[in-house]
Symmetry: C3
């Protein structure tokens, strides 16, 4: 699956907001049948799915297109899955995944749906509860999963804590989620920032997530998409510095040195690999533009 | 079991301090046969238990009354349990729980003691060692447990680290303990603050604990009880804000909106549930006054 | 095994730097066949091992002497082990340990090598990848392991994150590693600081590690050895304060008090044990001087 830096949600019952996807450069768009759509509107929103998806495809939406269904234990799940798989999507987002037994039937349903789709379907799972965090390592290895996202607001509601700017209250859960995802070889998407007017907070929170190993972030509005795309792409200065580091390291290696000092840092295996990874990612981004 | 915000310890060999329980508004009182009572005094303290408990009951002590026995591997344990269950208590605090095999016989002893008690007996377990943290998830699910507390000082002594104000050195262990307790559906009680003259430190530490999901805190003296009760009750401004958020969210839902902006925050499922939980807790507190 | 406060690496292909070990007061020296030695030089470095080790022994090197082999999945491993065990070393450092199945044969090879060595051989394992962190608890219990070190740079490269001064991005992994090691009864050695000109950063990072329970730290150059030895030895003021605390506590115990106030802190079991541990460590250090 393509890399997701920006992971944008909009409510399934608001076609005007969904149509705006066409003007936004998110890497992955999500039509939300869960929290974004009130109970009373869920059925109508499901019924409207095929049409809005068809419209977005016809207008050549750039980026992946997913539908977020309701959580595995919800009475809405079956109808949500039926509606989602009837539309021309790239996959489903399953929130609040907690137990293997609940997730595996959904993964099987996707395998069936794959037979009727020209796209490679996958599941993005939400780790946003205590059980989800506890079971994250095994949940991440379920077939068909392409990414996990961490839902800090739901998690802290579940454990009955409070959110702070520094985020120490979710550091354990957020660390375990990114570790579970990356160790399973799938993508990791960082928590939402609900303070939607506070750009600095989004940037700071995004930097925390990137440091932890997240490769993208939930977006609640278009402005956050721009910031996420920037935060999760290597800066020009990083790329340039990485190229210099690689060159210096290769030159030293020819002279028999495995470790060198480069701009104040002792550089050997890990820092060299990181520089190579930054350059590779930059090349990959450039190739898809 | 009633909610414990303040969890106050006093030594079992100091009857004058135990009698002062009658003038303190702790949610749970603990008569301490472990660290609070020196080796040479433990036997006499056990012998004096029935009388002091009877006195506290006769004087209508408000709040739960527990006895802390010595740790599962201690030679004192059997005599402690016998003395504790001979008194009219609400349960026992078992410090330094580490292995299921040690905790289960204690839980069985409590089941037996329950036959002779009119009160609903339970165990509050202490996670305060490396083995305890490693096994916290399974320890928390033992029958008869009503709460876990985290003992930062003992934990950091066991791992041979050092305590700081920020507490990053125990963040992993403190996070795992609250997760284990809350996921098992039992209460979580936060670490002691041994700097007994430093009220700001107690408040800051308590706020950290509350953010992580702890619902109460160890108290070493009466002043800490007052602070704990305040820290772990919703503030009037939180309650009022939560009521407004719920009202705004319900109004929006009628208009087909699942997510709304409320005072700068994007509010949907989790923030709404948290507000509902704050209001429910406030109502519950008000009902018990 | 002796306590390791300073854990100094130098490349196996640079005999001049290895000979300088004789003038440095590290607790443990490591001749590095892994990252420190470029691919093209590894074979020659292996061939030169017996001679350089013999020289260091003949010149009465103080401190332990280890060889770092390449990681368990490396094509170099067999030749590295053969060369290492042919030299008069105290053991091997195995980087990037991840799975029991990989580590156990290495532990068996060491058991065989033990038959031909007058020294007590052991393995120091590196937890420096996602799989290593996930499996740290069981890896730490493998026979012949005497220590684990945490490799923050490699870990963050593996998970594709970024390093910061505060280190929150590795707090989970660094906490799990020290917990795994100490709970298994082996030593824990803290991460390298690659900013080799920045002494304050080394000191701050070392203090974080010590708070978490690490007993020593990776060193990349002689100046870091001096700092590590200081950071991981109790300060004179700590020792003196600990002795006073123990005396006060013993006096109080005679008067029937299990908990006392000492310099603003409530002191009972854990703080007393910590003071005793500091004094015991200081006595042990003094005895080996």
């Amino acid at each position: 699956m393509n890399l997701i830096r920006s992971f944008l949600f909009a409510p399934a019952n608001q076609p005007d907001r969904l149509k705006k996807f066409l003007r936004i450069a998110a890497d992955c768009f999500v039509i939300d049948l869960e929290d974004g759509t009130p109970e009373a509107e869920k059925e109508a929103a499901r019924a409207a799915l095929p049409e809005i998806v068809a419209y977005l495809r016809q207008e050549s939406l750039k980026g992946l297109l997913f539908v977020r269904v309701n959580e595995p234990r919800s009475p809405h799940l079956k109808a949500d899955l039926r509606a989602a798989f009837a539309a021309d999507i790239d996959g489903i987002v399953v929130p609040k995944i907690e137990e293997l037994d609940e997730l595996q039937p959904i993964a099987s349903a996707l395998t069936m749906a794959q037979l009727g789709s020209a796209r490679e379907l996958s599941i993005i799972g939400g780790i946003e509860s205590m059980r989800g965090v506890i079971n994250a390592l095994e949940l991440a290895r379920v077939a068909n999963l392409s990414a996990l996202y961490f839902g800090a607001e739901d998690y802290i509601t579940d454990i009955d804590g409070r959110r702070t700017v520094e985020g120490h209250e979710v550091l354990y859960a957020r660390s375990q989620t990114v570790l579970a995802a990356k160790a399973a070889g799938i993508q990791a998407l960082d928590q939402a920032v609900v303070e939607i007017r506070d750009e600095q907070r989004y940037r700071d929170c995004g930097a925390q997530g990137r440091n932890l190993g997240y490769g993208g972030k939930i977006c609640l509005l278009p402005r956050q998409v721009e910031m996420a795309n920037e935060l999760f792409s290597p800066a020009a200065s990083d790329i340039e510095r990485s190229r210099r580091l690689i060159a210096a390291s290769e030159a030293a290696s020819l002279e028999g040195q495995g470790a060198i000092e480069f701009e104040g840092r002792m550089v050997d295996g890990p820092l060299l690999k990181r520089a190579q990874s930054i350059v590779a990612f930059a090349d990959r981004l450039a190739a898809t533009k």
